[in-house]
């Protein structure tokens, strides 16, 4: 319990610091949201009026206080540029991004673990070479490259899946899934490659240990040795890395989102930044940071389930 309390306090403190830093940085950038709203339709009088009505002339501390007060009281306010309620907007876009992130993690784990196990068991044979080759290709080439290849082959060539766009899972889950599948695959490929290599080396290490020899000596079948004993021991670092990557994927999703015109959190944050929409930037960065930290917390808890020797203190 004390562990969770400490983590929660640290969590809150980190978020507070992040919000202050974000706020400071956005005010150092040139330009403001009033200019972006009016574009080449602005003149000094109109601009001054708009700034006043948006509250941009208030002292920075007042602006920050207004935002953090709103966050704490549950009123996240309205985007200055788009006039949409921020909470609803972020809710929508977090769902969109979470779909491809979780899906890409599942795809990565579901392919990496079998590939890694096969590579380790058939060490230095053709199965190992093939597995390592796939992993190397995944690591060496960036995710947007695979995104383009997938669009060309699966969407344009075969016409199996849509090449762009997002659909809401609450309205049409199947359609939403079809829209999420290609971006998730592209996003998951490099993670899959990393996890394959990790699984392989972890498995090799475990397979070389004495207790495996004991298992074999007492006559256990090959499957039981590999899956029940070796994999169980080898998998915890793999899961840790996958979990840490969950946060990383969430933060680095922007390229894939724009490639597939899949408007999620990365896209929203980027738009907010381009438009100097400070409350929206603040809230977006806040939510992304919270998701990353939550993911890390969940991994720590999961750890204890996989490996009972680990205790949270």
């Amino acid at each position: 319990m004390s562990y969770l309390a400490r983590r929660a306090a640290l969590f809150a403190l980190t978020l507070l610091l992040i919000s202050v830093v974000t706020f400071a940085i956005t005010h150092v950038l040139p330009g403001d949201v009033a200019m972006m709203i009016m574009g080449t339709q602005s003149n000094p009088t109109a601009l001054a009026g708009l700034r006043e009505s948006l509250g941009l002339n208030d002292p920075l501390i007042v602006q920050y206080g207004r935002w953090i007060g709103g966050m704490l009281s549950g009123d996240w306010g309205v985007s200055l540029r788009y006039k949409e309620p921020i909470a609803a907007l972020i809710g929508q876009k977090v769902t969109a991004s979470a779909m491809i992130v979780v899906l890409s993690l599942l795809i990565a784990l579901a392919t990496a673990i079998p590939l890694g196990v096969v590579s380790a068991v058939y060490r230095d044979r053709w199965q190992d070479t093939a597995g390592s080759g796939i992993a190397l290709a995944g690591i060496s080439l960036p995710d947007f490259f695979w995104g383009i290849v997938l669009i060309l082959l699966i969407s344009r060539g075969l016409g199996w899946l849509p090449s762009s766009g997002y659909a809401s899972p609450t309205e049409d889950f199947w359609l939403a899934f079809r829209h999420a599948l290609l971006p998730a695959t592209a996003l998951g490929l490099s993670l899959m490659a990393h996890l394959t290599r990790m699984t392989r080396s972890a498995m090799l290490e475990v397979l070389g240990q004495d207790f495996i020899r004991v298992c074999r000596a007492k006559g256990l079948g090959r499957g039981a040795v590999v899956f029940r004993h070796a994999l169980r021991n080898a998998i915890s670092p793999v899961v840790t890395v996958a979990g840490l990557q969950l946060g990383y994927l969430f933060g680095s999703i922007i390229v894939i989102e724009s490639l597939f015109n899949y408007t999620g959190m990365g896209w929203l944050t980027y738009q907010a930044l381009l438009n100097r929409d400070v409350p929206l930037i603040q809230s977006s960065v806040f939510v992304i940071a919270a998701v990353v930290m939550l993911a890390n917390l969940v991994v720590d808890v999961l750890y204890t389930l996989i490996d009972p020797r680990v205790r949270l203190e």
């Binding site: 200019m35 009026g49 006039k83 344009r156 090449s163 997002y166 015109n261």
Partner: protein
Amino acid sequence: MKRREFLASSSALMGGAVLGPGLHSIAAHAADQPVRGGTLIWGHSETTQNLDMHKTGTASTGRLLQNVHDAIVTVDDNFTVIPSLAERFEESPDGLTYTFHLRPGVKFHDGSALTSAAVKYSFERVKNPETGAVNFEVFNDVAAIETPDDLTVVIRMNQVNAPFLSRLAENGAGVIIPDGSGDIQGTTPTGAGPFKFVRREFGNEVELVRFDDYWGGAPHLDGVLSREVTEPTVRLTGIQTGEMHLINDIPLDRVDALKNDPDLQVLTWFPLSWAFLNFNHAVKPFDDPRVRKALDLMVDKETLVQGALWGQGVVTASPSFPTSPSYNDGLAPRAQDYDAARELLAEAGFGPNELEFVFKTTTNYPWHVEATQILVEWFRQGGVKASVQQLTWSDWLSQCWVDRDYQVTMMNFFTLWEPDFLYYSLWHSTGAFNYRNIKDAKIDELTEAARRVVDPIERAEIYKAVQKRVQDEALDVVLWFRNGTVAARRNVGGLDALVHPNGSNLQFKNVWLKS
């Protein structure tokens, strides 16, 4: 599978997808009668912003809302103001009174009827500076808006404001919304246009459906789904896979390739926008006409259109809409002439390589960056050291437009057919968009005089003189008109009526889908 086999089979797959349906749809192209039904999926190049038509300043939002709203009057292809929600209108001979007779039986999307009260409400909403309407200055000279009966609106002016009627034909100022509906317009735009707004999922898509009670006859399509796809390559893939029926703004270097695609029809029109090279007149030596003319003389405009626009444009010396009466076709751009340029620079006190400046250009328009690189190379050949600084859109707006902190830059605007808005705002010394700090007494005099002249031919002549002055003094260097482009699948009909005469808005009223 061996690598070679893999390549062979994948290219066969792609080739099949491209050619197969193409042959099929050419055969289906024969019957050309509009049919009712179907939802058109439009890959729109931009993200819509504030949906309140009176308040939105961006062309992207106007392009969509054009289909939701109707204005009190509109224009035909020759930019003559013609009836719309008003079935007829009269202007008193002294130019001080306008009378609008509203079309009876017009319904708004909320079921209410078009009345003079709605017109009064809409005009007063735009006029009130607290509303924050972009075009509030259109109503500056309006003294009173009277509603003698349900279908008549009389507008009395303080003084003659010649551009008034044509400014009402632009969507921003002349759009009529239901009485008292101002508060909901930002989230649920409600008007009297051919399509009803259903929903917007921000940044993703906007859904419109047919308005069955549209006064001009219900449109053919059941609806329009506008998918907002800002990435040009994504739009290209979408139209090629058939996920989208229509896309606007094809990347300039891909227009020719799409024209050769048997699945697609490509519509290009002229002009969408115009661009010019800007000097900051408040910064030395750009206040000196000799320096500005010298730089103008180093530019080969024809080559620039080929190099920066891939030929998707036309050279012009006047920014007036080319078919409008105020377009001065007597102006010719200065031809490239390095000797004359060097001579002018020497007169202004600059020997070879003595003039140095920074050219600020925005990456918001990729073709500006290409044009800037070409221009700077020509300046270098003419003995001028220019360096390029690439700015994001927000940086450009803040440095060049608002703070006017630059030496040389370039910008483009949508081609405006209404000359007052164009010339007064951009070139009058107090003009709202005079970000070049231009102070030219002759231009001020001409643009002010034009506002008080009712005779359209006389007015057009004044604006032609303004264009000549801009060119003679090289206040700016007008470069080109850029084409607008749309690509559509073969099964989209009615494209000839798609583009509004203003060259920017797309109207889906007469568009239809073959099964």
